[in-house]
């Protein structure tokens, strides 16, 4: 398989998906509005929580919430792209694509590129709004790069995981199976308060949830006090590596069915 065919397939699939996303309000609006609602509701409605004794995050509650919403927007950029994969299979387009494309790896790479574009767009909108309403970035340039690298690795993980599911089930009814694990991973982390202030079963879940590390590292970058950086990158890299294998299995499953 030539490198050229891989790139041309990836570019064509990415262009089609990005074009569909930007031109279909039913696709682009929920992707941008949902993280925005979360940000607005939590940063605006819950800011008093920062005055609870033991809440020690120097950059303020808006920044604390932004750390979560950034990860959420990136992750769901990947998840929504996996929905597109499922939709393409349901409509029959993906089967034709698999028959016509000389590189099946290029197909996944194309969806991945479109997931990155989706996430970058959503993150740009949310960051602009966050900066307008009081986001304080205390970290330096390197911290900011680290923060967005974590976010885009989460996007890659979510997209590859979701694509693996979508290519195995090949129907839009795979939606809950794609979305639910990502949703649980995100929300069983210290979303609204630092880990030390969590109580009950969510605290127990957060203690073994890999996203807790990623979230805490992201918030550390924002506060200019990087913490748990290496474990966070190790965990998210491992998630990406496993999801690459999972997506490859999905491609093989789809090939057998094509």
């Amino acid at each position: 398989m030539s490198r050229g065919s891989f790139v041309s397939v990836a570019r064509a699939v990415a262009w089609r998906n990005v074009h569909n996303w930007f031109t279909n309000p039913a696709l682009i609006l929920p992707s941008i509005l949902f993280p925005m609602f979360f940000f607005t509701a939590f940063a605006g409605g819950l800011s008093r929580v920062a005055s609870v004794p033991g809440f020690d995050y120097g950059a303020g509650y808006t920044t604390f919430v932004y750390g979560f919403v950034l990860l959420q927007a990136s992750t769901f950029g990947g998840i929504f792209t996996a929905f597109s994969v499922a939709r393409d299979f349901e409509s029959g387009f993906a089967r034709r694509l698999m028959l016509g494309a000389p590189s099946r790896g290029g197909i996944v790479a194309g969806y991945w590129l479109s997931a990155l574009v989706r996430a970058a767009t959503t993150v740009t909108v949310i960051t602009t709004v966050a900066l307008a309403v009081g986001l304080e970035v205390h970290g330096d340039g390197l911290d900011v790069v680290g923060l967005y690298m974590l976010a885009f690795l989460m996007n890659t993980f979510a997209m590859l995981f979701g694509t693996g599911v979508a290519m195995r089930l090949r129907t839009m009814q795979a939606g809950p199976a794609i979305q639910m694990p990502a949703f649980l991973l995100l929300f069983l982390a210290p979303v609204w308060v630092p880990y030390a202030l969590l109580t009950g079963w969510v605290k127990a879940a957060a203690s073994v949830n890999p996203v807790t590390l990623v979230l805490e590292a992201g918030r550390g970058f924002l506060a200019g006090e990087p913490e748990k950086v290496l474990p966070a990158f190790a965990v998210v890299s491992l998630l990406v590596a496993v999801s690459v294998l999972w997506a490859r299995g999905g491609v093989r499953s789809a090939e057998r069915a094509a």
Partner: protein, 254 residues
């Protein structure tokens, strides 16, 4: 009445036969309740917080969240009737518009009742009960059904106006915005941000939540209940009138 009964039966059977419509509207609100009540329990340490359990405070949220799913279901069902031509065929019968509207929304009320009973049972099993007692549970169910009717009618209006399910799905995030920009997570007097408190004060969803919350936490609070019923009923009446108007326009077209 027989016209309404026939359509109502169809609407109830159709709604309850779709697990994809019933299950998420029960599971998602309960899951969020469980996560929120554990993750935000620290908020009860804020001076002036009305309960020492965030679960009790947050128990009102699933009732409204479930109603939002009802709006989506009602809209999707009606849009599918339009897309399949069922509504066109109905327009050839002597069926009255009001009968059609009420019949179509009965399935959503049935779903709303199942949701409300489930949430009450969960509240009784995992929380400190309903402060207003057994009579309060009856009032809570009535308020919850009024809220379901209000959001269901909005869903119906969007479906009748646009004629396609995708538009209903597209409006769904706006319903969630109404929930998020309310006193969902904290009481209004504890919301620090001025603009957010102002939006929450103007948002009728805050009063729906506070009506339910008053029954769960405080017992009988006439003002909170009156505001809750007035807001839910007001939205229901306006949305029903708008949906009836959209239905008239659509039937004239056919």
């Amino acid at each position: 009445m027989s016209q309404v009964a026939l359509l109502a039966r169809r609407s109830v059977v159709r709604t309850l036969r779709q697990p994809a419509m019933v299950v998420p509207s029960l599971i998602f609100p309960l899951m969020l309740l469980s996560i929120n009540s554990s993750g935000l329990d620290t908020a009860t340490r804020l001076p002036g917080f009305p309960s020492d359990s965030y679960f009790q405070f947050a128990l009102a949220i699933p009732f409204v969240q479930g109603a939002l799913f009802s709006a989506n279901s009602a809209g999707t069902n009606i849009a599918s009737d339009i897309e399949s031509g069922f509504l066109n065929r109905l327009s050839l019968t002597p069926l009255r518009r009001l009968s059609l509207m009420l019949g179509q929304l009965t399935g959503i009320l049935a779903l709303g009742l199942i949701q409300a009973i489930t949430f009450v049972v969960v509240g009784l099993a995992f929380g400190d009960g309903i402060a207003a007692g057994p009579a309060g549970v009856v009032v809570l169910l009535l308020l919850s059904l009024t809220i379901s009717l209000a959001f269901g009618a909005i869903g119906a209006f969007v479906a009748l106006r646009s004629g396609n399910g995708e538009a209903v799905q597209g409006v769904f995030p706006l319903f969630f915005a109404a929930l998020f920009l309310s006193s969902m997570a904290l009481p209004r007097n504890l919301i620090e941000s001025d603009w957010f408190r102002t939006v929450a004060t103007w948002n009728p969803v805050s009063y729906m939540l506070e009506g339910i919350r008053s029954l769960v936490i405080e017992g009988w609070d006439g003002e909170a209940l009156a505001l809750g019923f007035a807001c839910a009923g007001g939205v229901a009446v306006i949305a029903m009138a708008a949906a009836a108007s959209a239905l008239r326009t659509r039937m004239v077209r056919t």
